[in-house]
Structure formats: structure tokens, C-alpha cells
Amino acid sequence: MRPNSIRFTLVILAFIVSIPFEAFAQTDIYIRGSGKLFPIALPQLCLQQGESQAVKEIPQIIARDLDLSGYFEVVSPDAYIETPGKCGGPESVVYTDWTVIGVEGLVRGTVIANGGNLTVQLYLYDVQKRSMVLGKEYSGDASQIKKISHRFANEILKFFTGEYGPFGTQISFSSRVGRFKELFVMDIDGSEIRQLTNDRGLAISSSWAPDGIHLVYTSYRNRVPDLFRMNINSRSVTQLTRGEPLELGAKYKRSEPASELLLASITTGRDSDIVLLNMSGAVVQRITPSNGAIDVSPEWSPDNSRIAFCSNRGGGPQIYTMAADGSNVKRISFVTSNYCTSPSWSPKGDKIAFVCRADAGFQIFVANADGSNALQLTSSGSNEDPDWSPDGRYLVFATTQGRAGSFVLAMMRSDGTSMKQLTSSRGGDSEPSWGPWEQ
């Protein structure tokens, strides 16, 4: 599905039809913050014509997304009274069939299969108000079932919370393959895991270009660590640096597709600094001074005006921010810990997530960008490498919670609630990076 995703996206966009039900404008924001989960049902869709597994797959994929979102309780299909796949428009909904099992939201729809092509209509009903509140029609082929499902899940999230969801985006990460670490990418629901490298060494520290197609990462494929860029669709790889120094944590500027500069840390001797590199791997600007301290893990603010990073200049590692030219350095981690690393700046710019040693492990904290109001989000096992979803609502991270020491990937709401495990360990998953929305 990935190789031609741009074309598919365009096809879907071209076919999204505004149907009359769009007139049901959103009036209420139903869900704020955490609290009671909203009970929702997603019965099998009506097959109006042809043959397609989409009638079963679409509600299942949307249900998984809504469960991951942390806002919904998906009521089990075993409880449904309505016959699976029942056809008919809004007039055919027997609301008491749903209120009696405690359902407040209902997703129904129809699939028309015509040869390889599908036309999918999806509707969201407010069961208590006995009305349809959202309707969308999508066209595509069978390979686009997931994409259609994620899009409607995002529409549902937008309807209930006022903001589009992150479904359909991807997460890159490193994982053990034997004693090597290779680069992988997956859909955010943990499906479609694909191995990107076969470098038989360490392929680590990946992050996304704003185009959602390129990754930059550090690999030992030539025995020593160098910086590489990969097109994840064609798998073509470009080597950006050669030999000394050690480059880590390279980051494209955020939301600037044309930028040909990378923020990174480079280690020469015992000095590790934050620099700007061009795509030939040459240092075009040194941002932190060569002071013998470890300056590592740089992160742009969303407007590229400031940089968060980890430094041990004050003794143990702590989180700092500075202007993009290196001036105006401020420490922002003030939790009771002598060891804080891995800053990640939220897409809205207001928060920074980071990791500190606490509670017999490493725990994730979120603070305002000036360091105020730091909240500890995790408290058991070890939890590392947080990264924000593009909508700023979720964090993906590596965790040992319940895993006896080996790391898997999980996501949670950025208030620390609704943790969901995404991978089941392949022997150690680390350094997740959450990709951007599709372009």
C-alpha cells in the first residue's frame, strides 16, 4: 500500500464527495479531557452490491483506532441486537436496539463493490439524540480499505473533540534482529510492520522529513556510525556523512519541506555539540560551544525558532532550550532527578516531553516549554524516548511496563492516561519517531 500512497491519497481526495448529510454541522464538543469513555458501536456494514470483506474490515479498523484514541469504549459486537450487515438509511436505525445495550454513538454504513472498486458510505449517529451527525462517502480499491477507515476514524475524533486524529500516520523505530538493530516502520495501530534496513549493525536514531516519505538515521552499515537518508517507498538510501565524527539525532526542520539543513549532535573527541549540517554532511553552523560537555538529542520547536536538547554541562544530563542561533540558553527540567534526557517538543509548541530517572526506573514527564508545571506521566518500569503525534494529543514511547526488562512500544494520551501497547517485543523496540500527517 505504501509505494503508491501519494497517488492513492490523491485518488481518495478526488473521490471524496460531499453528501447532503454534511449539512449536519458540528454543534457540541462532546468530549473534553479524560473521564468517562464514550460507548460506541461499530456493527458490520451493509453490502449493497458485489462481494467485499470491507464490510467487516472497516468497522474493525475504526474500532481499533477509537480504542487507541483513549476517548471511546467500543461495545463488543456480541452485545448487538441488530442483525450484522443490516441495510437501510437513517430511517432503518432502531435506536432502542442501541440504547438498551448502553450505546451512545453508532457507526453504520454501506459498501458497494463493483469489480475492484469500492464505494463506501459511513455515518455516525448520536443514539441519544436519535440523529445522524456525520456522513462521508469514499471511493477507492480494496487496497485502500485501511486508508478509508483511518480517515473516518479521524472524522469521528474531530466530531467529538474538535480536532482531527492521528490515524493513518506511521511510526519508525529500531528493533532487534538477532544481535543487530534494524530500522522498521509501522502503522500507528501496530500493524503493517516493515523492516527498512538490512545493515547488519546498528540502525538507530531515526526521524522523519516533513514529507512523510524520507527518514534520516544513523547506521553502522560501514562499521562506523554515519548519517543516512532513506526514501521509505523506494528504499533508496543516500549516505550523508563519512567517518568521524559520530552523528546522532538528526532532525529536519519541522513543516519546511524545502529545507536542506539538518539539526544533529556530533561527537568529536570527548566533545559533543549541536550543529546544523547540510545534505552533504558538512557542518554549516555550530550552535552549542565546544565546552567538553555532552550536548545531544536536539529537537526543533514547531516554528523552528528554538531548540530543545539534553546536556550534562551542569553535571548530570538535563533538558535545556536555546534560540536557533544558540543564544538564550535556559534549563527547563526541574524535577527531582539528576538525570533527564530525550526532549520532544509538542506540535503546538506549548509543551516539552522528556525522560528523567525516577521511581526506580526512567519515567516520562511533560512540562510547559519554559519548564513550569512538570507532570510525571509514568511511574512503573522504565519508559523512554517519547515522541508526539502530529495532532499533539498522544505520545509514543518505549516501555518495559509488564515486560521484565525488555522494551516494547506503547502510546498514551499526553496527560498520561489510556496507555496502549503497540508492539509485542521482537526482543527490544526503541526510539520511536511519529511521522507527519500525509501530505
Partner: protein
Amino acid sequence: MRIRKIMVVLVVAALASGCACRTKKVGPGDSNIGIAEEGKELKDINFAFDSYQLDSVARSLLQKNAEWLKANPSRRVQVEGHADERGTNEYNMVLGANRARSAQDYLRSLGIESGRMSTVSYGEELPLDPRHNEEAWAKNRRAHFNVN
């Protein structure tokens, strides 16, 4: 044990042949990183948590390592820096680099020529002891010396 020995020989051979060559085809069976093992000719040295300072034990081991290198002037050494699994991977990668560099700098101060030494960091990625406890972590915070 025999398989392990053969692997060691293969890896050492691969390192010896591969160092200068930076455009190498990767085929099945090749490895681009070291293996986690204790030093044979040269002893590993250990570090405190989040530290790349050499303590007195590390210095005396490095003095012995320097004597061996002086007695074997044709041999080269690659110093590997390692970290325990605690803390995040990127920071630990730099910590490992600093540990390797600390050991290399001390060997140089003892008269070992820079041209015979190189460094590489594997951060927390190649633990000598895969367990998740204090004893394992203490072993894994190390500089290891590959002689070739």
C-alpha cells in the same frame, strides 16, 4: 564453545580486512558491529553510572594493557565504548564514545601511538551481560579492546 571461537576468528578477520575499506557489499553472514565478549589479550575496564572518568582500577588495567601493546608493536587496537541499558539510547551512545576516548587518551599518555588506536561506541546496544540488574549493568559499563 567451538562455534563461538570460530565466530570470534571470523569477526576479527572481518575487522582486520574491512577497516580501511568503506564501500563494502553487505552479504548474508556479514556483521558490521563487534560481538559482546570479554577481552582476552587486553582487559576490559569499567565505569561508574553516567561517568567516563577513569578510576584507579581502570588506570592500573590500562597500564597493563599498555605494556602488552608495547610488547606487541605490530598489533592495532580498536577501543569500544559501552553503556548500561539505563538512560536513553542516544545519550548512552555519546557516553560510550566518551568512555572509549578516555581509555584511548590514557593509553596515548602511556606512550601508545595514536596511529595504532581507533575508537567506536556501541552505546547500550551490545551488553556483555543481558540481565537487567546492578551486577549486569556494572559489567556492561565498559571499554573493550579489540586487538587485530
